[in-house]
Each structure stands twice: as C-alpha cells, then as structure tokens.
C-alpha cells in the first residue's frame, strides 16, 4: 500500500499558524495500516498540538475526525455537513487523499500532515520499505521480482552500469546493486536469458497525470 510518514511537528504548527478552527482528518486506508494517519495518529497529533499550543497560549481549537478513505468521494460525504465550521483542514491522508479533500472543500485550505513516500511493503512493525514507483511499465517478471526502477540508484531499465563494486552500488558500499541481485535471482531460477530481454524505456518520466480506465468500463467514458 501507500506508505507515508508524519511531518515534523514544527512544520505542522507552521502550516496551521494562521487559522483558528482546525479539523484534523484521518484516513482509515493506507495511512492507517502504516501507522501514519489513522484514528490513533489523529488523536496523538491533536494531543501533541494541544500541548504546544497551550505553551504558546494560543486560542486555536483543534478537532479530529477519521473517515474510511479520503481518495473516494463516497466516504468524504459525511464531512460535508460539518466542514463549514472549520477554517482549515489538516489531512493525514496520502497526497491523493489530500488533493481529493481540497477538491471537495475548495473554500477551505487543506494542509497535509504527512509526507507520502512510496508504494511499499510492511517489513516489520513500524518499518515500511519502498518497493514500487508506479512507472506504469512493470517488467518484474523478467527481473526476478526485483524492480530496477526503484532499487537501482540510476533507475536503469535494461542492465547494470559499469560501476558495480563487489555486488554493491558505486554510490555506497551499503547499497546493494539491484542488477547484481536480479542476476543472482534469475540464475537461481535458471532463467538468465530473461536478463537479455531489452525493454523500451518506461513512460513515467516527465508525464502528465495518468488516468487509467479498466477495460470493461472503457465504453462508458469515450468522448
């Protein structure tokens, strides 16, 4: 799922400095699972903010509310009745959720409380590793399940550069070379010829916002 990390408290304080009545909105989706912006984190953030605000003798009011998802209008509906009373919404959802909220509440400034980092996996409790950068041209089958776009420091799509050093990337001895790992994985599965497949460069660089339509629904939206 999407992985995010809460912003430092100072940055959040700065963002809400000009407002009096703030609503912190959590999201029950991805940010709940990675412990960044769920109901518990909304409560924790509000408690922390209240401590800071008390020290500054501020008269701001901070409320909290969590909806199931901020990326789907259906779940934002329940906020529409009460949102008007707030002059700022602090969204703890991923970037998509923040933008959707801003779109549905165009008159209220929406600030993000988390930084959206990646599509990743749950590596351990509280630890989340980036695995995918949504390039739109998945070649994982031919690279033994290791993403060259994400793991290779240069994002090389078709094989290593000449800088591999003892299985590590030339930028640091602590970063394993993705293509070396790909080679070893494919060799263990006896399909080294896959590494010789050359793929055209992926499209995700310098691109306009991508919209996908699942094939059974294409007919609905043709101009």
């Amino acid at each position: 799922m999407v992985k995010a990390k809460r912003k430092p408290i100072e940055e959040i304080k700065e963002a809400i400095s000009g407002y009096k009545n703030i609503l912190t909105v959590g999201c029950g989706g991805c940010v709940s699972v990675c412990l960044a912006g769920g109901q518990r984190e909304v409560n924790a953030l509000n408690a922390e903010l209240k401590v800071h605000l008390a020290k500054d003798n501020s008269d701001k009011a901070i409320s909290g509310y969590t909806i199931e998802r901020q990326c789907n209008e259906q779940f934002i509906e329940e906020l529409k009745a009460t949102a008007d009373q707030y002059d700022c919404i602090l969204s703890m959802a991923c970037g998509a959720g923040v933008q959707n909220m801003a779109q549905h509440f165009p008159g209220i400034p929406v600030h993000p409380a988390v930084n959206t980092v990646s599509i990743g996996i749950d590596k351990a409790l509280g630890m989340y590793e980036e695995k995918c950068r949504a390039c739109g041209h998945c070649v994982l089958g031919y690279t033994g399940g290791i993403c060259p776009v994400t793991r290779c420091s240069k994002g090389l799509f078709n094989g290593p550069c000449g800088g591999t050093n003892d299985g590590n990337c030339e930028i640091s001895a602590e970063v394993p070379c993705a293509w070396n790992d790909i080679y070893l994985r494919l060799k263990a599965q006896n399909r080294l010829e896959d590494i010789m497949k050359v793929h055209p460069p992926m499209e995700w660089q310098n691109q306009t916002p991508r919209t996908i339509v699942q094939e059974p629904y294409e007919k609905r939206y043709r101009a």
Binding site: Q207, R210, T211, Y221
Partner: protein, 235 residues
Amino acid sequence: MESSNILSWTFAYDFIRGPMVWVAFIVFILGTVFQIFKFFSMSRKTEAIQLKAGPGNFIKPLPKDAPPPKTDWLMWLKLSVFGTNPFLMIVTTIFHLLLVLTPLFVLGHNILWDNAFGISMVSLPEGFTDFLTLIVIICALIFLYRRLFLDRVRAITTWADYLFLFLAAAPFITGYLAYHQMLLDYRLVITLHILFGEIMLMAVPFTKFVHMIYLVLVRFTISSEWGLGKGSRTW
C-alpha cells in the same frame, strides 16, 4: 346487520371477494408508487464524465470507422451469478417468472376480470396453468429446503423468511387445491386463495417483497459494478 350475519360465512366470502379486492389493489398500487418516489428521492443523477484520449490517459482511442466492441454474452453469463450459482439462479428465475405470469393468464382469473370490467388477458389451457402452478410450488419447496438445510442460508434466516415464503406460495397451493377441489372444503380454500392473494399484494411495498420494485429500479438505474445497463444515478 345482525352479528350473526357479520360472523357468517357468506359475509366473510363477500367481503374478501368484494371490497377487499379493491383495498388490496389500491394499497398495492399506492404503495408501489410511494416506493418509486422514495427511490428517486434517495438517489440522484450522476454527472457524466467524458474522457478524451491524451498523453496521460491510458485509454487508446478507437479509429472513427472501427466497429463497436462486441460483448461476449456467453462469457458474461458464465462470469455472472448464473455461473457461480447456476441451479439456484435457474430455479429462482422460473419461480419469479411464473409467480407473475401464471396469475395473469389463468382462465379463472380472466373470467373474473371479464365479468367485472369486460376486459381480460388471453388465457392458457387450464391443464397447462395447473402444471405451472405445480412448478411454482416445487420451486417454493426448493427454497424451503435451502432455508432449512443449508448452513449458509440458516445463518441469516429469521422467522419472517419462513412466513413470507409461505405467503408467496399460499395463493398457488390454495389455487391448486381449489381447482382440484381436493383436501379441504372448496368454499374455504377458494376464500383462503383470494385472501392470501390480497395479503401478498398488500405486502409487496412494505415488506421484503419490495425487492419486486427495487430490483428493477436499482439494478437498471444505479451506476455500479453490478449495474445492468448504462446506469445514470447514484445514491
């Protein structure tokens, strides 16, 4: 009217055969209209979104003279609920079709319409409608079997489900018994037949029978993954 008259059999029959029919149909029609209005007030029209092919849109435009994409209906059927529960879907389709069509084309009913209003539908041969009635009763028995013996159905079954299954089958059971003049006194059975039919009609807008109205309204107008047709409304 003396109390002995009101409690008499003829009064009961006259009432059920007479004013009660009007009451049942009026309640049914008004209730249905009410539920239709309620649906339109609970739902709203969606804004149509058009997508033009562009650099970021992963949708390729069809050339102007290309034939429209064909739907593989057999595949659609196989992947639909007819594929996952074929037996039940066939039984329920037959049951519901006959539930609605048999009363419309039964000779006995059409004679009554003709006597009352001078109009009627075409009638099927009585032996055939008799057979169709039996089919409905068998389907109802299959539903009863499911309710009693399948764990997954028992898990969400309440007493109301048994009651409504009985109510749906009762006009057909009593109709069959009346036509063959078997088992019980004819006058009793025919009165029960009319009474159950009236209760069933009145129950449609106000109980789970409302799926008769809502299935059509919801499946055909609400845009969803499972919508039939284009679907231009949402909740």
